[in-house]
């Protein structure tokens, strides 16, 4: 009889154990608080994570579990430790062999860092609304424009950058192209953005591109197909955002349980017990949804509906759980890790596609599927 097994295999359980052990040892509450307060990137933690062998780009399940466990201890520094190759899938999936040989090893080894420069000051969720241009002359393109809220922006050795290579037509998502821009190229200016609400250890920057000359060989895939490459990447990155959110929510629940035990179980009222029960219920649902979406993705059969569901539900779970965690722990939470968890959680509903965008994606995918089924039905065997 066929069976469905929702258990992680033993090798992933072992990775989870090692990831948690590493995170608890290296990311102490004092460490997390320091980098949060100072808004600085924990480079030494990133190096240690790579040196430990835990950051294994070749094993996506391992990366998923790693992010979950790191964010369970601290999202800000935890994300820094594993986000050095953020955007790499655009090269591994669509780049040339030359690009893969040059750029992939340097970031998967941890020797270099990269980022993905898509968002612009006037275009966030509306990716097709970007205004940065790339104009071709002979064997190079000249890039002009500005990018906003770019993770790793100030530290990255190169940025995969979305540009417009042909004028906007009625099909706004046409005419966009992706380039690998080395950040030491003349005309690239990077300004670190300060005073984030949460994930303050992560580096976020504004990038200004002023007559930046990029070799034509740095074009990723085909000219004009950048929008599709970016959307494919978001189908991947949203899974990781979902699991970061699950990690934050689980970390908040861990701390609530510690608090409740320390206070004495005999004083617990039903209202608190039910809230804790609901926290667990929502977190486990978010985790299973994310693993389910990841399972489809890692078998090269992504389901955008499932991916967006995992991302939106995971993010909203993180926000809800951290809020309830503060309510239960009061002053303890306010002066400990939980206030940081509460601040960190909110970005999950915003970056890599807002919850609103995710819900629209879910509904539109459903309708596309319905139309496909209807058309298929009329023209096929069912007709």
């Amino acid at each position: 009889m066929a069976r469905m097994d929702f258990e992680l295999p033993d090798d992933l359980k072992e990775i989870r154990r090692k990831a948690r052990e590493f995170a608890i040892k290296e990311i102490t509450p004092e460490f997390a608080q320091k980098y949060d307060r100072e808004e600085t990137f924990p480079e030494e933690l990133r190096k240690k994570a790579y040196a430990s062998g835990l950051v294994d780009y070749s094993n996506p399940w391992s990366v998923l579990i790693l992010q979950e466990e790191f964010c369970r201890v601290d999202a800000g520094t935890g994300i820094c430790a594993v986000s050095g190759y953020f955007g790499l899938e655009t090269i591994t999936l669509f780049g040339t062999e030359e690009q893969k040989a040059k750029y992939v090893p340097m970031v998967t080894s941890g020797k270099a860092m990269m980022g993905l420069a898509v968002t612009e000051p006037s275009a966030g969720s509306d990716v097709a609304g970007i205004k940065t241009t790339a104009t071709k002359s002979q064997d190079y393109y000249t890039l002009n424009g500005a990018k906003m809220f770019i993770t790793n922006g100030q530290l990255a050795d190169f940025l995969v950058t979305l540009t417009r290579t042909s004028p906007q037509t009625q099909k706004r998502h046409h005419g966009l192209s992706l380039f690998i821009v080395e950040t030491n190229t003349e005309g690239v200016t990077r300004n670190k953005l300060h005073e984030k609400l949460g994930v303050r250890a992560t580096n976020t920057a504004e990038i200004v591109l002023n007559d930046v000359k990029v070799p034509a060989r740095n074009l990723i895939g085909e000219e004009g197909k950048g929008f599709y490459y970016v959307m494919t990447f978001f189908d991947i990155s949203r899974i990781y955002t979902a699991i970061q959110a699950v990690g934050i929510a689980q970390g908040a629940l861990d701390r609530v349980l510690d608090y409740v035990f320390a206070q004495g179980m005999e004083n617990l009222k039903e209202e608190t017990l039910m809230t804790i029960g609901e926290m667990e219920m929502r977190i486990e649902a978010a985790r299973l949804l994310t693993y389910s979406a990841a399972s489809r993705l890692f078998q090269f059969n992504p389901d955008p509906k499932l991916t967006s569901s995992a991302k939106a539900f995971g993010s909203e779970t993180a926000v809800w759980v951290t809020e309830k965690a503060l309510e239960i722990t009061g002053l303890q939470g306010l002066s400990g890790d939980l206030e940081r968890f509460f601040r960190d959680a909110k970005i999950m509903e915003i970056w890599e596609g807002t919850s609103e965008v995710e819900k629209l994606t879910i509904a539109r995918t459903m309708f596309r599927e319905m139309v496909k089924e209807f058309v298929g039905g009329k023209g096929g065997a069912k007709a």
Binding site: Q33, R37, T119, S122, A123, G124, S125, D126, G129, M148, F149, L193, H194, E195, K196, L197, G198, Y259, K269, E270, E271, V319, E323, L326, E327, I328, T329, G330, L331, Q332, G333, L334, S335, G336, E339, R340, F342, R343, K346, I347, E349, I350, W351, T354, S355, E356
Partner: protein, 351 residues
């Protein structure tokens, strides 16, 4: 005061807040409320809003006081909480003795900073040492004190039930705490070693609780101000920001959610400022307004997208403060028990 006078007061406080505080509200979050800003608030009569006129205050009635708190909170919840601590906590406790009353003139004029160590009433309070009185000196450490730079501090000393002391000097802030909200005010433990103190009352916790429960409408007014400030920013932003070639306000989820929250804000304001609110209605106002502030700030931040996550746009502080307000100035379960007791007309919701 007549309704015209209340309107005039509101427009005066709003004008003051816009001219003197709004422009520096991000700086207040970074560096704290500076003495010159507190001095300007005192000169307007806000710091001594409820202090009797013969003791150097403005002697506003409750509605006038709520207007001051709400309008200050619209631009800087930290500034509003500074006024709250002075008028809703320090004032009623200091009035217990002659020596306490004598301090009020200096407090109202902001010559001296005053606070109350009230957090022992709250969920999650865990005192390490506490303050004891021996050999005519108050000595020890009090944890989780908001606005801990103060020279005058009212605190409950160790013991059962614990006397309420007014300590004048010999107080030093130590061990700064992380601050989710009200970053304009210092939040830390205080080390006390003072021979200048006054026993305000023998039943310290009881009096503290009375003062705490008495500020239902004041806390509700700050929550309403936070809601109002956050929604005003979100509404403005959604008019000017375009996405997918349309203003944000043109999209139903944005327009409907903000309009719905704005309706709740207006309804709550009408309720809170109505005459002769009962004790039950006051608790209702505290519970509902703090919840509305959390909902409204969450949506306001979401509407701003990535920009909302950064301090420059002035929305993230409302999100933090809306969460910190009930944690520092409400008692979730205890407030709900007070409400339940009123609804059921007997002890309810205690299991």
């Amino acid at each position: 005061m007549s309704s015209e006078e209340y309107q005039l007061l509101r427009s005066n406080v709003r004008e003051f807040a816009q001219k003197n505080i709004e422009g520096i509200s991000a700086k207040i979050e970074r560096d704290g409320l500076r003495p010159e800003t507190i001095g300007a608030m005192a000169a307007q009569g806000f710091i001594g809003a409820r202090v009797p006129g013969d003791l150097g205050g403005t002697e506003l009635d409750e509605r006038g006081y709520m207007i001051v708190l709400e309008e200050l909170a619209r631009v800087s919840p930290s500034a509003a909480v500074k006024v709250l601590i002075t008028n809703s906590l320090y004032l009623p406790l200091a009035m217990a003795t002659g020596k306490g009353k004598e301090t009020l003139k200096d407090v109202a004029s902001a010559n001296v900073n005053a606070t109350v160590a009230h957090t022992s009433l709250l969920e999650g309070y865990r005192e390490q040492t506490g303050v004891t009185v021996a050999n005519s000196r108050a000595h020890g450490v009090k944890d989780y004190v908001l606005d801990s730079d103060a020279k005058l501090v009212i605190l409950a000393a160790n013991g059962s039930p614990g006397t309420l002391l007014l300590v004048n000097g010999g107080v030093e802030p130590v061990n700064d705490q992380t601050r989710l909200g009200f970053r304009g005010l210092r939040f830390s433990s205080i080390k006390v070693d003072s021979g200048d103190f006054e026993v305000l009352a023998e039943n310290g916790p009881g009096l503290l609780e009375e003062a705490f429960n008495g500020m239902d409408l004041a806390v509700a007014a700050i929550a309403l101000g936070i809601t109002s400030g956050a929604l005003a920013k979100a509404i403005d932003y959604s008019k000017s920001r375009t996405t997918f070639e349309h203003a944000l306000k043109d999209y139903q989820p944005v327009a409907f959610s903000l309009s719905s929250l704005k309706s709740e804000e207006e309804m709550l304001r009408n309720f809170m400022y109505s005459e002769g609110l009962s004790g039950t209605a006051r608790v209702m106002a505290r519970v509902k307004s703090t919840q509305l502030a959390r909902n409204a700030t969450k949506q306001a931040l979401q509407v701003h997208g990535g920009y909302g996550y950064f301090g420059d746009f002035g929305v993230e502080k409302f999100y933090r403060d809306a969460m910190a307000l009930p944690l520092l100035f409400s008692r979730g379960a205890k407030d709900m028990q007070r409400l339940s007791q009123a609804v059921f007309e007997s002890k309810a919701g205690f299991m």
